[in-house]
C-alpha cells in the first residue's frame, strides 16, 4: 500500500499525542509532527509537502484553527484537511476539487451533492 504523509498539527497536546500513538502504528502512514499549530507556517507546509493535514483541535476555541484551515484551503486547495476534536466524537474532513467553469460541470456538481431535505 502506498504510504501517506500526514502532517499532524496540535492545539490539544494530549489529543495529538493520542493520534500520534494510533497513527504511529500504521505502516502506510508517514507521520510528520506533531507541531504546535499556532507556531506552524504555510512556508513550512510548502517544505513538508504532506498528502494531508490532521489537526488535533480544541473545539471551544476554534477561531485560530478555522483561520488556519481557511488559509490552507486558499493556498493549497487540493490538500485535504482533517479535524479531530475532543468535544464531539467525529472526524471532520475538508476537501476541495476544481472543475472547468462550464455550465454542464456546474449543473452536474449541483445535482451530485446531497439535498439537505433528506439530511446530511
Amino acid at each position: 500500500m502506498e504510504s501517506r504523509r500526514v502532517l499532524l498539527l496540535s492545539v490539544q497536546p494530549l489529543l495529538s499525542e493520542s493520534l500520534a500513538q494510533v497513527l504511529g502504528r500504521v505502516e502506510a502512514v508517514d507521520l510528520i509532527g506533531p507541531y504546535v499549530l499556532k507556531d506552524y507556517t504555510l512556508t513550512q507546509l510548502a517544505d513538508e509537502k504532506p498528502d494531508m493535514v490532521l489537526i488535533a483541535e480544541q473545539e471551544d476555541e476554534r477561531e485560530e484553527e478555522t483561520r488556519f484551515v481557511a488559509r490552507i484551503l486558499e493556498y493549497y486547495p487540493n490538500l485535504p484537511v482533517i479535524q479531530v476534536g475532543l468535544n464531539s466524537s467525529v472526524i471532520r474532513v475538508y476537501t476541495s476539487h476544481t472543475l472547468p467553469a462550464r455550465s454542464a460541470d456546474l449543473i452536474d456538481t449541483i445535482h451530485s451533492l446531497p439535498s439537505r431535505q433528506h439530511g446530511c
Binding site: 490539544q12 497536546p13 494530549l14 489529543l15 499525542e17 493520542s18 493520534l19 500520534a20 500513538q21 494510533v22 504511529g24 502504528r25 480544541q58 471551544d60 479531530v84 475532543l86 468535544n87 466524537s89 472526524i91
Partner: protein, 227 residues
C-alpha cells in the same frame, strides 16, 4: 498505602479515537497496563466491579451516566479504587463536585502525556492529581466555604438579585454557562461571577445543589433586596 508495582488502569471515555491513543500512551509505560475500557459511566461501574482496577481515568461528558455520577457510584462500592478525572471541562463546579464525589484528581485534557502520567502515578500513591491552577481554585473555594455559615445554623439566605434569579432559573433548566451567557447577552465570565454569588447566598456548593434547593423552595422566588 502499599506501593503498587504495576498499576492496572481502566479508561472511561466516550471518544473512541482518543481512548485508543490513551491506551497506547499508558501501555507504553513499564509500570502501567490498561485492563479495560468503558465508553459511558455505567459501563465504567460494571467494568470497575469486574476488573477491580487500581486506577480509573474518567471523562466527565459521557452519554447516560456522566463521569461525575459514575465516580460517586464507584467510590461508594469500591472505595480503594483511585479515580482521576480527565476532562475538557475547565469549570470549578465540576472540579468541586468531582472531589466531593471522591475523585483523587482532576486533570484537563490540554496537558501533556508525561505530566498526566506523573500526576496519575502520584494519585495512585496517595497524592492529589491536580495542576497548580486548579489547586488554587480549590484553595479559594475552601476559603469561601470557611466564611459561610452552615445551612442549618438558621442563618437566612440572602436574597438573590433579579439577574441572579434569571441565571439560577436557567441553571435549574439545565443550561450550560455558554447557553446562559447567550440567553442573557452577558459574558461567560459574568455568568461564573453570578454563579459564585448565588452559591454563596444559598450556602450550597454546586449548581446542581442550587437548582435542587430552588426547586425544593418552589422556584427562584426570593425577593430582590440585595444587589
Amino acid at each position: 498505602m502499599n506501593s503498587i508495582e504495576r498499576i492496572r488502569v481502566l479508561l472511561a471515555d466516550d471518544h473512541a479515537l482518543f481512548r485508543e491513543g490513551l491506551v497506547g500512551i499508558i501501555s507504553a509505560q513499564p509500570g502501567m497496563e490498561v485492563v479495560g475500557e468503558a465508553s459511558d459511566g455505567l459501563e465504567a461501574l460494571v467494568k470497575a466491579r469486574e476488573l477491580a482496577p487500581d486506577l480509573i481515568l474518567m471523562d466527565i461528558g459521557m452519554p447516560g451516566c456522566d463521569g461525575l455520577e459514575a465516580t460517586r457510584y464507584i467510590k461508594r462500592e469500591l472505595p480503594a479504587v483511585v479515580i482521576v478525572i480527565l476532562t475538557v471541562h475547565d469549570e470549578e463546579e465540576k472540579l468541586f463536585e468531582a472531589i466531593k464525589n471522591g475523585a483523587q484528581g482532576y486533570l484537563l485534557k490540554n496537558i501533556r502525556s508525561h505530566t498526566m502520567l506523573e500526576l496519575v502515578w502520584g494519585a495512585v500513591h496517595g497524592e492529589a492529581a491536580i495542576t497548580p491552577i486548579l489547586a488554587g481554585h480549590m484553595l479559594e473555594e475552601f476559603r469561601r466555604l470557611s466564611r459561610m455559615a452552615p445551612l442549618d445554623s438558621g442563618e437566612d439566605v440572602v436574597a438573590l438579585t433579579s439577574r441572579e434569579q434569571e441565571v439560577l432559573g436557567l441553571v435549574a433548566a439545565g443550561a450550560s454557562d455558554k447557553k446562559i451567557a447567550d440567553a442573557l447577552f452577558i459574558s461567560r465570565h459574568t455568568v461564573k461571577s453570578h454563579m459564585r454569588n448565588i452559591l454563596a447566598k444559598l450556602h450550597v456548593n454546586s449548581r446542581r445543589e442550587a437548582a435542587r434547593y430552588i426547586r425544593h423552595k418552589g422556584g427562584p422566588g426570593l425577593t430582590d433586596t440585595a444587589h
